[in-house]
């Protein structure tokens, strides 16, 4: 009896801790939203207004009327979508090769591929920059998409391979004996059965392309190529006096695509973004 009572108290305590943690962790998000809905003169007041009674969308209006922001947004969207298409496209074929065929030193090549995930970005970037300047793909969407494959492609191959591995070779072999082509096996059996994995991979790729800052900062510097992360930061921090309402509105807009992906496809989002920690 005493045990049970103790259990109940502990359970309630656990709930309380969890509740408080949720509140604390949500404060930054709340503050981002509230700030973005304030007018400039409501920002620089002390004490800060914790709740807003006069909501204004002027920050958002201002953002969407800034030509540069629209460019950055468009560039981010293009880069993220192309990163996804390239990463998943090549990833599917790579995964197929590693999963369903046997060839010499397959394991070594695969481990090498995984190890490349651990290469320091900072070291890679130097040569990538020099190389991009030389072949003239600096300041292009293509260049950025290409550079992002250094992380997206190995992850993509690995994640999709995990799914292909769960489909037994008996199934693919009998399909081959029945006259199905190798491409046919891939498109009619493996891909349809691995759609959840491919979708998780796509989410991971999109978010990588959407969020990345360092490569975008160094490999692009025109409004025609630069993506949101460095665009927002440099544009607002250096040229304009920091208008926190505008900056938070823009930040909120930059967060919405990833937030939506998470809310709509929680399971796939988590699978994709925890690649490397949870198998399959």
């Amino acid at each position: 009896m005493k045990e049970k009572k103790k259990d109940k108290i502990l359970n309630n305590l656990a709930n309380l801790i969890l509740f408080l943690t949720v509140i604390i962790m949500m404060i930054p998000i709340y503050w981002m939203i509230v700030t973005s809905l304030k007018s400039p003169d409501q920002i620089f007041t002390y004490p800060p207004k914790l709740f807003i009674f006069k909501v204004t969308l002027s920050s958002f209006k201002e953002i969407f009327e800034t030509q540069k922001f629209l460019y950055f947004f468009r560039n981010s969207l293009i880069v993220a979508l192309l990163t996804t298409a390239v990463g998943v496209g090549f990833g599917i074929f790579g995964a197929y090769g590693f999963s369903k065929f046997n060839f010499k030193s397959k394991k070594t090549i695969f481990i090498l591929l995984l190890t490349s995930l651990m290469f320091p970005w900072a070291l890679n970037l130097l040569t990538i920059y020099i190389f991009f300047v030389r072949v003239g793909i600096i300041n292009t969407h293509f260049g950025l998409v290409f550079a992002y494959q250094c992380i997206v492609l190995p992850v993509s191959i690995w994640l999709i391979k995990n799914y292909f591995d769960t489909i037994h070779t008996d199934i693919t072999d009998s399909a081959l004996l029945d006259g199905c082509s190798r491409i046919g096996v891939l498109f009619r059996i493996l891909i349809p059965l691995s759609l959840p994995g491919i979708f998780s991979t796509a989410i991971f790729s999109f978010i990588t392309g959407w969020n990345e800052y360092l490569f975008a900062l160094t490999l692009t510097n025109t409004k025609f190529a630069r993506t949101l992360p460095p665009g927002l930061h440099t544009h607002y921090m250096t040229f304009v006096r920091i208008g926190w309402n505008g900056l938070m509105a823009a930040s909120l807009i930059a967060t919405i695509p990833t937030l939506l992906l998470f809310l709509l496809f929680q399971k796939y989002f988590i699978k994709g973004l925890s690649a490397g920690a949870i198998k399959g």
Binding site: M32, G91, L123, I128, W210, W244, F262
Partner: protein, 301 residues
């Protein structure tokens, strides 16, 4: 018999197909991963200058000598290790505690879990900007809340006052952004544990703490270390958050900023390459541990 012969022929043809399927990816990864790493290491031994026409000359270890004889790189290493240690401890402890708290049955569990994951969806550059605003010395919410709760008396210059406060601020921002990963992956690992073990432990009279160290932790050990290694690799290389919040001021010039500054502000690529090579060596150790852990998990299955 005929079927077997067919299969053999198919398999031989299959090797060519497989190599063709892998080749594009392998080519891309070579150009964007293997070549840059090799070339980057070579770069650190040359006198390369951006845009020069003549090939760079091999000058041995003199870049290393000049980099390591100045205190800058040592401060960088110190900052990187200090920052990594704080963040790693933070995300591991918070992630584990939240995972354990979520691994029970209670009303509102799904909502709590969803809300706790939300910081994960915030792009790094956004969390950096957001925390810069939260930590603003005059109008920031953090100073205001701490003052309202009588924890501090005067405003703290979180991002300007002293290395201690700056390090605390960027660590807080990073922990906030990273803990959901640990929480979610720890939780996934916890859910694989068979409840029978806990029942047996209860019969043996184990208390909660004993259960954690004798049942829970051993069961998720491999997953735990895999996750921690991934954390290390990320935290170690973090650039975005620190750069946007401090630009490396007040002893927060982590190694990634050292590389960036040397390459793209001072345009001394070989020096930057020394920093990059240092990264490579340090990360290689973790990469080896990581791959071994992965292979172990694989063979256990």
């Amino acid at each position: 018999m005929k079927a077997k012969k067919n299969l053999l022929r198919l398999q031989r043809k299959g090797v060519i197909f497989a190599l063709l399927a892998i080749f594009p990816s392998f080519l891309i990864i070579s150009v964007i991963n293997f070549y840059p790493v090799v070339n980057g290491i070579i770069l650190s031994f040359t006198n390369y200058k951006l845009g020069q026409q003549t090939p760079a000359k091999w000058i041995g270890i003199s870049n290393y000598v000049s980099v390591f004889s100045s205190s800058v790189v040592w401060d960088s290493l110190k900052a990187t290790l200090y920052f990594s240690l704080i963040v790693l401890t933070g995300v591991t402890v918070i992630g584990m505690v939240l995972a354990l708290l979520l691994n029970r049955d209670f009303r509102g569990k799904a909502i709590a879990r969803t809300l706790l994951i939300v910081p994960w969806t915030v792009p790094f550059f956004v969390s950096a900007l957001l925390f810069r605003w939260l930590f603003d010395v005059q109008y920031g919410l953090v100073n205001y809340l701490l003052k309202s709760l009588f924890i501090i008396e005067t405003n703290i210059g979180w991002l300007s006052q002293s290395p201690f406060f700056v390090m605390s601020s960027i660590s807080t921002a990073f922990i906030w952004r990273l803990y959901p990963f640990n929480m979610v992956t720890f939780l996934a690992a916890l859910q694989t544990i068979d409840p029978v073990y806990y029942e047996v432990a209860s019969i043996d009279g184990a208390n909660r703490v004993q259960k954690f160290f004798h049942v829970t932790f051993p069961a998720i050990r491999n997953a735990f270390f895999t996750i921690v290694i991934l954390d290390i690799v990320w935290v170690f290389q973090e650039f975005t958050l620190v750069w946007i919040m401090t630009e490396g001021s007040l002893k927060t010039e982590v190694l990634s900023i050292f590389v960036y500054r040397n390459a793209f502000m001072s345009l001394t690529f070989p020096k930057a390459a020394v920093g990059g090579t240092l990264y490579f060596v340090l990360l290689l150790v973790f990469a080896v541990i990581y791959i071994r852990l992965l292979l172990r998990v694989e063979s256990e299955e």
